[in-house]
C-alpha cells in the first residue's frame, strides 16, 4: 500500500501530507484540552516531546517493537498530562496557561541536559517506521473516537465546563475529574503524535519542541474553530500548508504568515469552522436545517 502511494505521489507532497496527518493528531489532542474543555494550554509541545523521546529511546535502546514504543510514548505523556492536570483544579485561565508554558520549558531544559537524548545535539538514528498508511489510519481512528467522545455524555460535560464551570457543577458534573481527564486524553494524543514524528523524522532535538511549536498547535485549534473537530482538522491543514505555499513571496514569507493570521481572525473571529461539530454536519447532510455558518455567530 505504501509502496503504491509513494509511486504515484511526489515525495514532497507525501511529506506535506504526513506532516498534516501528524499535526492533526497533535491538534486534536490540544482541541480536547483547550477547544472543548476551555483549559488554555500553551505547552502542548512539551507533551509531544515526552512522547517523542520516550518512544525513540524505547525503539533505539530497548529494541522494542514500533507499536509498543508508540504506546509507551503516549502513555508516559498521558501520565504527565495527568500530573499537570492536577494544578488545573486550582488554577484557571491565564494562570493555567503560564503553568503549562512553564512545564513545557522545564521539559525542554530537562532534555537539553539529558545525556541519553544527546542534549542539544539531539537524538539521531531513530528507525523510520512511521508510514503514510499508518499515520492516516490513526488520524481516522482518532477523529472517529474524538467524535464519539464529544457526542457522549462526557463530551457534552466538557463543553459545559467550557461554557460555565459553576453552572456545569450545579448540574451535577464533576468538573475536577473531567478536567483531569481532558488533560490526560489530550496529552496521550500529544505523546502519540510525538512518537509518530520521531519515527518519521529520523532525528529529534529539544529545540523542535520549543514554545513556538506549542503556539503553532494552539493556532491550529483556534484558527480552525475552538472545539470543532472539522475545524481543528481544517486549521491543521491550512497552517501546515501555508508556510510552504507562501514560499512564492520568498523573504516576505513569515511577514505574510503573520499578517494572514491577523486577517483570518478579523474575518472569522470564532475560527474558520467555529463550533461546527461532526454531529451538525451529519444533520446537514441528512437535509435537516442546521446552519453551518450561522452557528458560529
Amino acid at each position: 500500500m505504501d509502496a503504491l502511494i509513494s509511486q504515484y505521489i511526489d515525495p514532497y507532497y507525501l511529506r506535506i501530507l504526513m506532516l498534516i496527518g501528524i499535526n492533526i493528531i497533535l491538534a486534536l489532542g490540544l482541541n480536547l484540552i483547550t477547544g472543548v474543555t476551555g483549559q488554555l494550554s500553551m505547552g502542548h509541545a512539551g507533551f509531544m516531546s515526552i512522547g517523542a523521546y520516550t518512544s525513540a529511546i524505547f525503539s533505539m535502546q530497548m529494541g522494542s517493537p514500533f507499536f509498543l514504543s508508540l504506546l509507551a510514548g503516549a502513555m508516559v505523556a498521558a501520565f504527565f498530562g495527568f500530573l499537570i492536570g492536577i494544578p488545573t483544579l486550582r488554577l484557571e485561565g491565564d494562570y493555567l496557561a503560564m503553568v503549562t508554558i512553564g512545564f513545557a520549558e522545564i521539559i525542554r531544559v530537562f532534555f537539553l541536559n539529558f545525556e541519553p537524548g544527546g542534549k542539544a545535539v539531539g537524538l539521531s538514528g531513530i528507525p523510520q517506521n512511521t508510514t503514510f498508511v499508518l499515520v492516516w489510519t490513526l488520524v481516522i481512528i482518532v477523529i472517529i473516537l474524538n467524535a464519539k467522545l464529544l457526542n457522549s455524555r462526557i463530551g457534552r460535560a466538557f463543553y459545559a465546563i467550557r461554557e460555565n464551570e459553576i453552572a456545569a457543577e450545579a448540574s451535577g458534573i464533576n468538573s475536577t475529574r473531567l478536567k483531569v481527564l481532558a488533560f490526560t486524553a489530550g496529552s496521550f494524543l500529544a505523546g502519540l503524535g510525538g512518537g509518530l514524528y520521531a519515527h518519521y523524522m529520523y532525528f529529534i532535538r529539544p529545540q523542535d519542541f520549543a514554545f513556538m511549536k506549542s503556539i503553532e498547535l494552539l493556532n491550529m485549534v483556534v484558527l480552525g474553530g475552538m472545539g470543532s473537530i472539522p475545524g481543528t482538522v481544517l486549521g491543521s491543514v491550512i497552517l501546515t500548508l501555508l508556510p510552504e505555499m507562501l514560499r512564492v513571496v520568498a523573504e516576505y514569507r513569515l511577514m505574510f504568515y503573520g499578517a494572514l493570521l491577523v486577517i483570518l481572525m478579523i474575518f472569522r473571529p470564532n475560527g474558520l469552522l467555529g463550533d461546527v461539530r461532526v454531529y451538525d454536519l451529519k444533520k446537514k447532510l441528512q437535509g435537516k436545517k442546521v446552519g453551518l455558518w450561522q452557528s458560529s455567530n
Partner: protein, 388 residues
C-alpha cells in the same frame, strides 16, 4: 455578520487558489546543473545561513563566468528553512524531486544536516555540509560530505598551545546549552584539558539568544581562572566579554571556529580586542601566503560590502569543490562524481587546505589562531596539526 463571514471565506479560498497555482508553475526546466541551498535566512539561526547563502551565490557566479561546469551553467536554488526540522526535510524533498538538484550545500547545523543527509542518501544525491561539525554525519552514507575543521583534530593542539605556550592552567569552561555545536565541542575541550594536565576550575552554561550573563561572570570571577574557554558562537562570546569587562574581569577567551564572524569585533568592541583567541582552518587577513583567500576576501567585500565569515568561506568552497569534482569525473551524475569528490586531496580552498580521508572526514592543516586587533579579525599564530 453573515455577509462578512462569507466574504472572508471567499477571500481565503481565492487567496489559496492563487497561491497554489503560483506554486505550481515554478521551476521551468533549463539545461543547467542545479545545486540546492540548505540553511536558514530567517529565524534565530539565520546569522549562519545568510552569509553561507552569499558565499554560495558568489561561487556560482564565478564558476559560470569561467564557462560553467561541463559546458553547462550552474544554478543555485535558495529556499529558507528557518532552522526548522520539518522545513529542512520538506525542502530537501522538493530540491531532489522537483528541481532535480545534483547536490545539496549545507546546512550549518549538525542536526538539520543529518535529516537532510538521510533523505539525500536515500535518493542518491550528494550532500555537502559546510558547517556540521558534530559526530554521526558522514557515517550516514557515501553521498554525505562535509567541509569543516574537525574539532577533535584541532582542539588538542590548541589546548597544548594554551597550557604550554601561554601557561594558562586554570580554565573555566562555558557551554551554550541550546547550541549543538557548543554541546559537542565542550567534551572535546574537556578531554584535551584533562589529558594535558590543565585544571577546569569552573563550568558554566548559557543559552544562545540570551543577553544576560551577569550571574555566570560573577560566578567565574569568584573561581579565579587564568582563561575562559567558550565553545559557542561569536554573538554570545562578544556578550560574555562585554560583561566580563563590565565586572572588571581581565581575561582571555579561547574558542572554536564558531567565533569566526565580523560581528565578534563589532559587538564586542574594546572588550574583545586582543582578548578573544580562536582557532580556524584559515585566516582572511594577515596571511599573505594564501592568494586564494586574499582574492576571495577582496571579491566578497566588493560584492557585498561587508566582511565574509566562516560560513561564507565554507559554502563558497563547497560549491567550488563540487564543480571541480564534476569536471574531474566528467559527469554531473551524483553517483559518479561522488567518487571523485571522495578522492579530494590538498584542495587549496578559501577555508584552508582540504583533504578527505578514506572515511570522507575532512582534514585541514595547519590551524590558524586568530584574534581581534583594531576591530579586525587578524592572524595571531599558526600551529601545526598533530594527527595520530
Amino acid at each position: 455578520m453573515r455577509f462578512r463571514g462569507k466574504a472572508g471565506w471567499a477571500l481565503l479560498v481565492c487567496f489559496l487558489m492563487v497561491l497554489s497555482v503560483m506554486a505550481g508553475c515554478g521551476g521551468k526546466s533549463k539545461d543547467t546543473i542545479k545545486l540546492g541551498f540548505l540553511g536558514a535566512t530567517t529565524g534565530s539561526v539565520a546569522n549562519y545561513g545568510i552569509p553561507g547563502q552569499k558565499g554560495m551565490k558568489m561561487a556560482i557566479e564565478e564558476v559560470n563566468k569561467n564557462g560553467g561546469v561541463l559546458g553547462k551553467q550552474l544554478e543555485g536554488i535558495y529556499l529558507d528553512n528557518k532552522g526548522d526540522s520539518s522545513e529542512i526535510a520538506l525542502i530537501t524533498d522538493k530540491y531532489i524531486n522537483r528541481d532535480k538538484v545534483v547536490a545539496l550545500v549545507g546546512d550549518p547545523c549538525t542536526g538539520l544536516t543529518k535529516i537532510a543527509a538521510k533523505i539525500a542518501q536515500g535518493n542518491k544525491v550528494v550532500i555537502f555540509s559546510a558547517g556540521a561539525t558534530g559526530t554521526g554525519v558522514v557515517e550516514i552514507g557515501d553521498y554525505v560530505f562535509r567541509n569543516t575543521l574537525l574539532d577533535m583534530f584541532a582542539v588538542p593542539s590548541v589546548v597544548d598551545w594554551m597550557i604550554n605556550t601561554k601557561d594558562w592552567k586554570n580554565i573555566a569552561v562555558i557551554t551554550s546549552l541550546n547550541n549543538d555545536y557548543s554541546v559537542s565541542l565542550t567534551p572535546v575541550f574537556k578531554d584535551a584539558i584533562d589529558k594535558q594536565g590543565g585544571k577546569i576550575v569552573i563550568e558554566e552554561s548559557i543559552n544562545d539568544e540570551e543577553t544576560d550573563f551577569t550571574a555566570q561572570i560573577t560566578n567565574i570571577k569568584k573561581a579565579k581562572p587564568d582563561v575562559l574557554v567558550f565553545t559557542g558562537y561569536y554573538r554570545e562570546a562578544a556578550l560574555l566579554m562585554n560583561e566580563a569587562k563590565k565586572q572588571g574581569l581581565d581575561i582571555s577567551l579561547i574558542g572554536g571556529d564558531g567565533l569566526y564572524g565580523q560581528d565578534l569585533a563589532n559587538l564586542g568592541g574594546k572588550a574583545v580586542e586582543e582578548k578573544v583567541i580562536f582557532y580556524c582552518g584559515f585566516s582572511f587577513s594577515g596571511d599573505e601566503s594564501n592568494p586564494v583567500t586574499e582574492k576571495f576576501l577582496a571579491d566578497y567585500k566588493a560584492k557585498y560590502n561587508e566582511e565574509p565569515d566562516m560560513f561564507s568561506a565554507q559554502y563558497y568552497d563547497a560549491v567550488m569543490i563540487l564543480a571541480k569534482a564534476m569536471e574531474d569525473a566528467n559527469s554531473a551524475d551524483p553517483s559518479v562524481f561522488k567518487d571523485e569528490l571522495a578522492k579530494l586531496k590538498d584542495y587549496p580552498g578559501v577555508s584552508g587546505n582540504t583533504t578527505f580521508r578514506a572515511d570522507r572526514e575532512p582534514i585541514k592543516s595547519p590551524i590558524c589562531l586568530i584574534t581581534v586587533k583594531d576591530g579586525k579579525l587578524t592572524l595571531l599564530d599558526k600551529i601545526p596539526l598533530n594527527i595520530e
